[in-house]
């Protein structure tokens, strides 16, 4: 018997019962994430999952590892700070499209630009679920609901291309229901140096029940992942939004923690104050 040695996915699940709606794609993401952590052979004390506010941002509570359920839109600064302070830890930042692309949009841009070695997972259901169905930055312009009669008329934007244009070093799209694929993408993202971004299409069965159909729309990308961000951007801007896999794997210089920090003696410091 050698089953005792490595941790299993279930070892990363806390005893808290999720309050997500039954059928929610986020349950799949929770499973994929625990499987990825087991595959990565991390110990719970080596991992921190940081989130903001929203349904998907509850995920740290359901995991057995370090976690921080932060304030709205500010998960990336928290994750960045933690990674800089504790570069030995595996830092995963997770949340939804409202949290990450709306109030958190600027942190998203600049976290990509800084290219710190962490993984950002956005569970994108194109709606604010927790607050009862407001349109988000990825909502279709004609999505009609009581809170957006006739649709907002606003174009959704391309988070994956924004990530590329801002400097992310690994860009992938996943579908929550594809647990095996998502597990692999999370593992690959964590292993890739620098800032990794995964947009996980994760249906909201309550406010967007039509998203159950995503299951039959997804497909593998027609080509291998590129290391050319310009090509990746062009491909993503012309794809159908449902190709699932690694779309860009770059070699952009990650932020080297400790860069620019000189370790000085008291004598060095005194010299700086000489006139």
């Amino acid at each position: 018997m050698n089953v005792s040695a490595p941790l299993k996915a279930s070892d990363f699940k806390s005893d808290l019962k999720p309050v997500w709606c039954p059928g929610c794609g986020d349950y799949h993401v929770l499973l994929s994430l625990t499987k990825a952590l087991a595959d990565l052979e991390r110990k719970p004390e080596e991992v921190a999952v940081i989130s903001g506010i929203g349904c998907s941002s509850r995920i740290p509570a359901y995991l057995k590892c370090y976690g921080f359920h932060g304030v709205h839109g500010r998960s990336l600064p928290l994750g960045t700070g933690l990674k800089v302070a504790r570069p030995d830890m595996t830092v995963i930042v997770a949340g939804g499209d409202g949290d990450g692309f709306s109030i958190g949009g600027n942190h998203f841009l600049h976290a990509c630009r800084r290219n710190i070695d962490l993984t950002y997972i956005v569970m994108d259901n194109r709606v604010y679920g927790m607050t009862k169905g407001q349109p988000s930055p990825t909502t279709e312009p004609d999505w009609d609901s009581a809170l957006s009669p006739g649709g907002t008329g606003l174009n959704p934007f391309h988070p994956l291309v924004i990530a590329l244009a801002s400097g992310a070093n690994f860009v992938a799209r996943a579908f929550s229901g594809d647990i095996r694929g998502t597990t692999k993408l999370i593992s690959d993202a964590v292993n890739h140096p620098g800032f990794s971004f995964i947009q996980i299409l994760s249906p909201c069965v309550t406010f967007r029940p039509e998203q159950k159909e995503w299951k039959s729309a997804i497909h593998a990308p027609p080509v291998e992942a590129t290391d050319d961000p310009a090509r990746a951007a062009r491909r993503i801007m012309t794809d159908d939004g449902f190709n699932v896999g690694v779309l860009y794997r770059g070699d952009r210089r990650p932020y080297k923690i400790g860069d620019g920090v000189e370790h000085k003696t008291v004598a060095d410091l005194e010299q700086e104050f000489q006139i």
Binding site: V3, P22, G25, K132, A146, I179, T206
Partner: protein, 175 residues
């Protein structure tokens, strides 16, 4: 997204590892569904999912006992040789609903057990090693028994009439 249909199971240990993983995943999922039903005050369903999980736990213990001498392998998710994108016996979480009835839960279980049966059936029909084939036949037989069990339960839990999901205060009400 990736399927490895030609990736043949090549040892008894690997077969047992897959059989055990099927049970473990099923246990995790049935408990996840049980948790969901408890949170949403659907206690009848919660009990049903706990019972299904208990059933799989017994089965898992049997496999572990059988693996005592042969040993189980430590596989990463991507190293399993599932014919489809998922482990075959997984209940489809996306079909869960907070007002689901026993009939729905049993439909999910039936689908999962049938897929598990088909997984071992595929091995029986394709594997060359006679010993692996023999053990796969045993697992297939057990899954067939599970299918029968669920079918019997379904006789006692018929499909609910339309409107089973109706809710006077639905969670998706936007006001």
């Amino acid at each position: 997204m990736s399927a490895n249909p030609d990736n043949e199971i090549s040892s008894l240990s690997e077969l047992l590892t897959h059989a055990y993983a099927i049970e473990e995943d099923a246990i995790d999922r049935y408990h996840m569904l049980g948790d969901q039903m408890e949170v949403h005050n659907n206690h009848e369903l919660a009990k049903l999912f706990r019972d299904l999980a208990g059933h799989e736990e017994k089965h898992a213990a049997e496999i572990k006992a059988r693996a005592e001498t042969i040993g189980l392998m430590n596989l990463k998710s991507s190293e399993y040789k599932w014919p489809d994108t998922e482990g075959p016996e997984l209940a489809a979480l996306d079909e869960a609903h907070y007002r689901m009835t026993p009939w729905h839960a049993l439909q999910m279980a039936l689908k999962a057990e049938t897929r598990a049966f088909e997984f071992f059936d595929h091995i029986v029909n394709t594997v060359t090693d006679p010993e692996i084939k023999k053990w796969a036949e045993e697992f297939r037989e057990e899954e067939a028994e599970h299918v029968t069990l669920v079918e019997r339960l379904l006789e006692k839990n018929p499909e609910p009439p339309a409107g089973w999901a109706d809710d006077d205060d639905p969670p998706n009400l936007q006001e």
